[in-house]
Amino acid sequence: MSVANVLLRRSHRPMWHLVDAKDQIVGRLATQIAPLLVGKHKPTYSPNVACGDIVVVINAADVQFTGKKWTDKVYRWHSGYPGGLKERTPKQQLERRPEEILRRAVMGMLPKNKLRSRMILQLKIYEGPAHPHEGDLRGKSNILQGPDD
């Protein structure tokens, strides 16, 4: 008889994926990244165990929004202090820390559970074409072409 959890926490070896975000639309790209982080592309998927893969994103500063979102979309959050509602547009965010644009998008697409904070750590975003993970990527091509067998 099969066991529901074929994958144990210790026996999980995540695969590494490389994504070039240049000229990709933020949300649509995030849609493809999120399932990889969750592990839903694997037949050994278990919801109670972190079985996702690691995704390295480069050129995150060259990501695109359609329409007037660069100026009109607003990220809002509250600091907790009175009068502490803060706002920032993607354009401003690009100046401060461009990686956060994509990270926020992906974060919103992950399941809101205890594994989420762990999953987002597997997402490594870099604003330029350089990344420190040369050794870990074994020729994994851009995922937008679809995963290999």
Partner: protein, 159 residues
């Protein structure tokens, strides 16, 4: 101002009402008629009431519960009731949840072979493969070559 009460309980009241009438204290010798061995030692054997047995039975089942629910009967019994309700409901839900998981896994495996789940199922029917989702999920996870064989069969029948 109360007088000293008599050891004989009923006379205490009259001692208060009649202060000039001093009642005799029961002589120590009177207790000679009731030696301890005849009465039975009050401390040597505790009588277990039926209530504490029932309480213990409940508390034995609430180990690991949070807060007072693991130690105090009145709280524990409510939590235990809830736990049993959840257990009843979830025995039924478990069957549903497992099927959902199998479908997710089969879908993932199927996509690895270039077909989506909703394309796979009618193709399986057409190929008269009656393997159920549970088995398919198991094969997909543990016997990848067998699963590939299934996919190939399905694709060949599709033509």
């Amino acid at each position: 101002m109360l007088r000293i009460m008599s050891r004989v309980g009923g006379a205490a009241l009259s001692a208060w009402r009649h202060p000039n009438h001093v009642l005799p204290l029961a002589p120590r010798a009177a207790w000679q008629a009731f030696p301890p061995s005849a009465v039975g030692s009050a401390m040597a054997q505790q009588e277990r009431s039926m209530a504490s047995k029932k309480h213990k039975a409940v508390l034995r089942q609430t180990k690991g519960y949070r807060g007072r629910a693991k130690n105090c009967f009145t709280v524990a019994v409510r939590r235990l009731q809830k736990a049993l309700q959840y257990a009843y409901r979830d025995r039924k839900q478990k069957k549903r949840d497992m099927r959902t998981l199998w479908i997710q896994r089969v879908g993932a495996a199927s996509r690895q072979h270039g077909m989506s789940y909703n394309q796979l199922i009618p193709s399986l029917n057409k190929a008269r493969i009656e393997l159920n989702r549970k088995v398919l999920a198991d094969i997909a996870a543990t016997e990848p070559y067998s699963f590939r064989a299934v996919m190939d069969t399905v694709r060949s029948v599709k033509q």
